[in-house]
Symmetry: none
Subunit: 415 residues, 2 copies
């Protein structure tokens, strides 16, 4: 008998509420989705609260939960996950931030939080110079890396630090750059805030006089003369999936935050040409990469961002179209894996309302198909049909033990 394996497909923000535009159906209910329905029909279905009923999760906390971790206990901020996902090494003890290249005036008032969506070429040159800035705090070092356009990450390393500090990013234009402030009385938080504020000043000095910015101004572009920091975070203190279940794991995901969560729990991240994390992503390339990864892994996470992109834009029909493309991708998947030995679970990391454009706290549908599930009578994959399934209502943190148990990878509790 071939060894049992599992694929978990997470469609970002796929679940929704009934929308007037779709005659009070959800995008899932509205979409044509024969493969999702086939997975529901051959599987066991239910609804799932990623964190807890009514709590709107972020993609980071939800993914942590869906990978079996208690997010309330282990989540330690977005910065380190984002940095990890952007191929920046983060060590235990490091404090990491998401950063933006921004444009400020002489009063430090933010004019553009994205410095005119500066091109990679410019932001990378600026980042190289920022990396040369000297930090005088004893034993402290930093890493600064531009990722895409105006986005960057900052990692501070060295003495005893704390992520419990506030953002320097005011989050909106027309406001001044803020001082990072310690959010508790610890010397660690005070020191970390001080380092961020020092770097902010030194970066500003370096950027203001930088040839790239002089050139930008000449071309009529906003200078990228400020670095805004937000989302201070440390690595979550968790054991790897390999340690917990003794499995080999990989993830196929384009979104840096999700890649970061996967790396934080010890998963290998696979790069896929054409996987962009947008509506134009190459779904089939991701499916092919998943089938390929399954040959050498016990568990593969396949994450699709497109469904969430559409709903944040409050475009319910576009979301239904993204679901139809996902359905087509799933068709490739079930045609290329052996469902006699592979379990396939399909869920969302959270509900995103096409009406509000926000992450919401409603549960998401879940279906698991594969050789030994207790197939139920649900025939369609959507929020309301799955609610009638044999899994009933579970939590995000329950899913991984269920899958790992089907794979024979859980240990008996007791005798």
């Amino acid at each position: 008998m071939p060894s049992l394996k599992a694929v978990l497909v997470i469609a970002d923000g796929m679940a929704d509420r009934p929308v007037k535009e779709l005659d009070w159906k959800t995008p899932l209910e509205f979409a044509r989705k024969p493969t999702l329905n086939r997975i529901a029909e051959t599987g066991i279905c239910g609804i799932l609260d990623p964190i807890a009923p009514g709590i709107p999760p972020g993609s980071d906390t939800a993914t942590l939960a869906l990978l079996g971790y208690d997010a309330v206990k282990t989540y330690s901020g977005r910065g380190a996950l984002e940095a990890l996902g952007s191929n920046v090494k983060v060590l235990p003890g490091d404090v990491a931030f998401r950063c933006n290249f921004a444009t400020v005036n002489q009063n430090q008032t933010v004019l553009d939080r994205r410095a005119g969506r500066i091109e990679n070429r410019d932001s990378q040159k600026l980042a190289e110079s920022l990396s040369q800035v000297k930090l005088k705090t004893p034993n402290a070092r930093f890493l600064f890396k531009s990722t895409i356009q105006h986005r960057a990450v900052l990692v501070i390393r060295g003495p005893r630090l704390s992520a419990n500090i506030s953002d320097s990013d005011p989050g909106t234009t027309g406001e001044k750059v803020m001082d990072a402030k310690p959010l508790d009385d610890s010397p660690e938080a005070k020191l970390t805030a001080r380092i961020v504020n020092t770097l902010t000043r030194e970066f500003h000095k370096c950027l203001t006089s930088h040839p790239v910015n002089r050139e930008r101004v000449k071309r009529g572009l906003p200078p990228a003369n400020m670095i805004l920091c937000r989302g201070a975070g440390t690595l979550p203190n968790v054991k790897s999936l390999a340690h917990i279940y003794g499995i080999k794991t990989s993830c196929v995901a384009a979104t840096p935050l999700v890649r970061g969560v996967c790396r934080a729990v010890g998963m290998k991240t696979i790069d896929v040409q054409g996987a962009t994390g947008t509506l134009q992503t190459d779904y089939l390339a991701k499916a092919r990469a998943t089938v390929q990864a399954l040959r050498s892994n016990d568990f593969v996470l396949l994450h699709i961002k497109a469904t969430d992109v559409a709903s944040h834009d409050s475009k319910a029909k576009q979301k239904a179209e993204a679901i139809e493309k996902l359905d087509n991708m799933l068709n490739y998947l079930i045609e290329h894996v052996d469902l006699n030995s592979v379990y396939l679970a399909v869920t969302a990391d959270h509900t995103t309302s096409s009406a509000t454009g926000n992450h919401e706290g409603d549960p998401v549908p879940i279906a698991i198909t594969g050789p030994s599930v207790r197939r139920d009578s649900v025939k369609e994959y959507d929020e309301r049909s799955c609610a009638g399934g044999g899994l009933h209502r579970i939590r995000g943190v329950d899913l991984m033990p269920i899958l790992m148990n089907l794979l024979g990878k859980t240990s008996k509790f007791g005798a």
Copy 2:
């Protein structure tokens, strides 16, 4: 778009078990209740364990849970809630008690725990005299207030106190008044017990010789010559709903205990003429007050006691009649609020068995109707029909996050 609001209707003890008298239907199943059914049909339904499966809740712990608080962690005794609900000010650190005017003989044996259900006129005069009693403990003060008939509250304030002491009320006739005893070794518990015992003696002295009691004996009435204390409690240490969700809240309730819980979490309590907390309460007046309160609040709790009164008397048909009156009240409510912007949730705080007359640990039905709920196929509002609904089985503490998320008042956990 008008701002979203919510009404939570709690029918005290409305849920029940199947009763022989009603041909093994529950009172909810037996009652004619078109409006409750309409709410179920247009909404999402489920069953709810106020605390946890099998645990019979009090109205105080259940209401705390339904307002989103972890009752197991925050509940700190009935006394302070009862006092708050009786318009007695309770401060952090105070220890409060529910008290009865009672009749004892010369051996301190309780002859009547309600002193012949003494009239307000008499009990209020006696309470005025009791307030004059001098307490010699340094820095200690007390407040004593008669509420309705034989009922009263006592609040002790001053030095470091503890609510971890036993009752002086034996709970039954034919038993002697008990000494309050510290239930732990702390000096606070010892001191508080000593103060209660001193007050019990001094109150007894004052009451025995009181002209009101001499007059009562002449009229052939039992003298109210003893104060029995029970249910020592402090304020629960909780943040207000305004703090947690940034909402304005009010409650329409007649029962002091429920009013006390609402005040403890920062809700405004609204007085309604004709709202009595009995079977004869003015249901429509409460509905009108709720509609009125909704104009200036985000969230209104409407509590009806009548359903519980009937079941404690083991009168299943009378309970069904109270449900029919509640149904009529709900009809007024849905005709006078705009269900395009108002969410309406209807539940009970606990099951009360018409057979045992006790609070029981069975779950209660819950239905939520309003603009964006995932309407399910349930068509009738009762314990068994709602069990097939899209909410499945939730806990009391889950309800408030679900409602507040529908109102857009919850914060995202993570990014």
